[in-house]
Symmetry: C3
């Protein structure tokens, strides 16, 4: 039997090279997944006695001082706002992408959400937020056996009196954000069956496991000595992880057909609906007010939620302002795409330090966020990596900056609240505020370890998927258009496609382009 | 005088057949309605002494333990999120409809909201939520004479310490949802003056009266023995009622010109902006977080709001996942339209049982919701009923499934909270959890009675409107385009219409199509 | 040195006439602003000790009875909803404008937000909400030296126990609303560098200074004897100020090239995406639920927040209903654009009196709001003022009506809540409710003074900008298209522009149009 198991990889590779098998793989895999869903359901169907444990508590018993209605309302409303970011993401990505790949973006955004909900219920939340080892949580699969109150009724970790299911909903929306960020740099050339697979692996494994290091009650980065790694609302945990996975995918996939880079005389491919994209960006800003302030999980900390809301606002403003002005100097145009990516960079950057910095600090975190996004776009262009909407600069690069900025700009005044008083052990002081380099080093370790682990894991996953069931769309399907070939529909069926979106019309043209680097792409945001 | 009254119906029919009178009917009716608005206002203008009663209470007097600020914040924020569903609905409907009828959808959505606000203030809320008979409420017209606290300061029914006006705003948003659902299957061939009339009848009479049976303090379904009908947030009361009315309208109207069904070799007419429609679907999901969790009307029940939020999420996820996978097996395409309708079906289904089921139950409620939507689409296609966006499968069919599912999957653990403790009389146990068939029968009676009464009432109303002032757009106006003929504008005036949306170009072509069933419709979501 | 200073205006004028200098002005100014941002940041960088004062308070010390978590949650969630209005505004404006100017609307909306955040932090909040003189606040620049609780821990003015930073976030969103309203009537012919300048002046000076008169703790309108001016949520302070500035700008700019008015045989220029515009209107309605109810800054006043939410709903509904019916009588079309502007007019109007009127009053405030918007549109058309989306009627005219309506319809029952009981000194009684003309006169003084001061200030500012660095786009750039000439991109790059949006194709044609008033504009909302 072991003999048989050893042969599996070999057989898979043989099968992957067989065109007939490959053709049927998608159907097969979808069937397996449908079956898996059924089995998953039936399995837990037979354990009502076990699942009962989790919620089996009369409301009266829970209405103690530890269970706090105001905190629960705050956390849930914040969770709903974070969910609204899905609306923003799909609009941003679809608008700044070409028409031919925009339906695919919507399908991905929605299906990733569905997958995320199921895996995060089944095991993701257990891996990420429950105790276990410093590297992975090992309790609470299918939410079984959890205390009805998040953090335990004994208040051991992070307890603010909210139900564990409310905490789950909040964290589901975070996991979903990471999942959607992931797709950003992979737009337009990813086979949908490959997308399904990597989504399960990303939201089911990479995000919760690497996230556990920072946010798990016993994560090794969180409890690191002398100073623990701090990431208040997820510059690293959500955005850098998402952006890094996206980078891995973009490298494995390669650029879209017809994408010519600036050093080869081209530029980004055109967006198809700039209004849609920019409105999506504003909706993201709106949703961020759930993301950052809601991460207190407590409204009792009223100065904290006020400060986080303020810092989030100011950093977005300074980032947007610096991005449009800086770009104007370079291009003499007031660039909408860059401005949107600029304020998003500010939002990503402030996500980590929003609790610990003062207004002045927030202002500079935003300035940095706006600038690194632009420099990141330049770098990707130079490295000939095709990131259609700038997901890597916005989420990975600005996330790294924001994480490090805490070590520079933390005001040294704010400790996270506990049930009784401020927790002075969580006061963070940055280098510029007289705190030395301690926190900066901790932040660098946390950011570096997360980037490294995530990049390696995702690169391996994408490479394996590409070499087995396939990740990159076939050239014929890409020329036909991803939406038509995978989803059987275009975004605007009543309108014939017009203008040139830079895609070659034939396989020959595609090959010629690849060989000779004939510039044919037209200007676009980030141009 | 009685002689004269008996002649009215006859005269109306004669008038309706007179083309000149018919031509002027719209102007006349609009005039009457403007007059009605004025009279309505003037009437209540002269009763300040009476209306005073409702709100005439000093804040201090109300700040008792029964009047709860946290619950009020929760209910109002939830109400605002439910209102946001209007945004989602109009985007979903307009995006998945053809361009030529999309402006009409926006006008309808907005005007229905305006009518709903006025009628729900004047009499709808009184009919639905105030005591009276088991069939209709009879108190509180224009909100006069109501206790300032919903449910009474004596806490007789459903009291959670919120002001009656906050409860009104929450329930207005619900009534508005039902009203908008109604228009779904009637898209594209309904005269606007007819729409105005049926909107007043639907949101002013059908919804509040039939809704009273389930949600009125003395509604006959609610107090039915031995087990009352239970519908936590309105799978039946909002969605099945709305979807059933829509079905009645679609049958009376008949299909749009040029709509060929699958068994005749055609298929659904094309959507015009798939992105818009899918984004609208995501906004609906966002708004649903007000719809279901907010229906506790109390944030003190923190386990309840956490559980409802969780169940709503998981059911939507499992429904979306099963819908896309199941459809992939049938069509080999990853269908966006079906996926959106799938997760919406899951949301509609979980709306009734969301308070009483465990995660496993919610998972299966969603699976069922996703599947019945697809089967419902097939059935309508087979029955040659034109439902342009799938309103009947999503709201009526999934609503019925969700209502029945409570009788199967209720976990038998959760009783609604009261001021002092959990109300054990409201614990619901489903068949699969050892509760026998009692609740399932109650649910079947409630769902069946609601469907029957609503269908009969709406069919009569639509037929009478069609035979008097007219409901179906004239063929000439339909060929010109509903937006142009009724609203004098197209959705995108700078862009000429392109492509073929399946509508015949001339009356002759329309007649030939009707006679010979020439297939001319092109593929679309649900295809 | 004084000699030199006296020469500055003269030199500026000379420079402004020099084409080379003018050409470089934009670059120069952008550079200055970038520098200003840097200096601003560095400046405050060196005063951590001072800024520390503002938030330097341990959480424990603040958790007194005065610091109220529920009120803070309410205020922040409301602030987030108000921010969502930005999404609605840019969609409304872009959709109801022509394609050629829609990208510009997005850039303006976003950059104005960024500028507003920075100036409101640096000095706007100090000017508006801090004590000083009856005409301007003089404390709290960069939020330094402020009490951590809004209104002071001694509760001197408006204290509801919320942190000052939460109050800032709420008021930032208000300032941003005013800023965005401003751009409405100036759409399509404003040079972006001019826009940057006036934005700083408007959101940094006009809005906070004139706003201080009504909302500052010692504002002269607020403390006026015998009866103070009352504006609950900003019909005057936000909407009339914004609309009046917009009017000033529209007059200074003049109409867009090719805009022919009705008395010259033309009509409004066509919108480009009616769906987008109407959806934006609905999102504004959604956000208004933060704007009005949130203005209590307190959820303890549960009857108040219930009443405000109700009144806001009913006024919007009656306004929308009257607008569509009234327009139908005039045009025989069910007009979407007018309906949207109608309910927005109702929302603007109820914003001032929403706290003090009963349902009947709210109904009539809405009826008036819907009507004055239509009459305002007629008046602007007659005066040959080009207001592309109707910002002046909706915000200025309906704002004036709403402000005056308080003097007519205030129910005489509701006093603003204080920490202990209702403040009877703030009960307002209107003329129709037996209160005499006192409040009506106070409202007329407040509205009149605000309109006058705002119009004069903005007219001067716009004229000076126009005569120095330039406000009006050059005719060549307008013919090329604002989006292309200023932002280097069109809204939908894959689609070629089609149809006729009324803009002349050449400078000669533009001149001929101006001279001969050749009608070439096609129908549009408001037509």
């Amino acid at each position: 039997m072991f003999q048989k198991m050893r042969e599996i990889p070999k057989r898979l590779l043989i099968a992957a090279r067989n065109p007939v098998i490959r053709k049927n793989a998608a159907t097969l895999m979808a069937g397996k997944m449908l079956g898996l869903l059924m089995v998953l359901g039936l399995m837990v169907m037979f354990m009502p006695a076990v699942t009962a444990h989790a919620q089996d508590a009369a409301p009266t018993a829970l209405q103690t001082t530890q269970i706090n209605a105001v905190n629960t309302v705050w956390t849930l409303v914040a969770a709903f706002l974070v969910f609204a970011m899905q609306v923003g993401f799909v609009m941003l990505e679809a608008g700044f992408a070409r028409q031919r790949e925009s339906v695919n973006i919507l399908v991905e955004g929605i299906v990733d959400t569905c997958i995320c909900g199921i895996t995060f219920w089944a095991w993701g939340y257990a891996f990420m937020f429950q105790p276990g080892t410093p590297f992975i949580g090992t309790h609470g699969f299918f939410l079984q056996g959890l205390d009805p109150a998040w953090g335990g009724t004994d208040g051991l970790y992070g307890a603010t009196g909210i139900p564990v299911l409310a905490h789950w909903v909040f964290q589901f929306a975070f996991a979903d954000t990471c999942s959607t960020v992931t797709s950003g740099a992979m737009i337009g050339r990813c086979d949908f069956i490959g997308d399904l697979f990597y989504s399960v692996l990303v939201t089911g494994f990479i995000y919760p496991i690497v996230g556990h290091w920072s946010w798990g009650p016993d994560g090794w980065l969180a409890v690191m000595q002398p100073l623990g790694f701090r990431d208040f609302a997820g510059s690293t945990v959500v955005h850098t992880i998402g952006g890094t996975i996206s980078l891995g995918g973009a490298i494995v996939l390669g650029p879209r057909l017809g994408r010519i880079f600036k050093r080869d005389g081209g530029g980004p491919m055109p967006p198809h609906d700039v209004i849609l994209g920019a409105v999506g960006g504003l909706i993201l800003w709106f949703g961020w007010y759930g993301f950052n302030p809601g991460s207190t999980l407590s409204a009792m900390d009223i100065q904290g939620i006020g400060r986080v809301s303020f810092n989030t606002t100011l950093a977005a403003c300074s980032a947007g302002a610096v991005a449009i002005l800086y770009t104007y100097f370079r291009t003499k145009k007031w660039d909408l795409g860059i401005t949107v990516n600029g304020f998003l960079g500010g939002l990503v950057a402030i996500t980590c330090p929003c609790y610990w910095v003062d207004p002045v600090g927030a202002f500079f975190v935003g300035i940095g966020g706006g600038l690194v996004v632009i420099w990141g776009l330049d770098l990707l262009e130079y490295l000939r990596i095709d990131d259609p909407i700038g997901a890597v600069p916005v989420h990975m690069v600005a996330g790294i900056w924001g994480t490090l900025s805490l070590g520079l700009l933390a005001a040294g005044k704010y400790g996270l609240p506990t049930a009784t008083s401020a927790d002075t052990s969580t006061v963070v002081t940055g280098l510029f505020y007289g705190g030395g380099t301690g926190q900066l080093i901790a932040q660098a370790i946390g950011s570096g370890a997360t980037v490294l682990a995530t990049f390696v894991a995702s690169f391996i996953i994408f490479t394996v998927i590409e070499r087995t069931i396939g990740l990159r769309l076939s050239a014929a399907n890409e020329i036909e258009g991803l939406d038509l070939s995978e989803h059987g529909v275009t975004a605007y069926p009543e309108f014939e496609k017009m203008g040139n979106d830079g895609t070659p019309k034939t396989l020959e043209e595609a090959k010629a382009l690849k060989a000779g680097k004939v510039p044919n792409a037209v200007g676009a945001p980030g141009d």
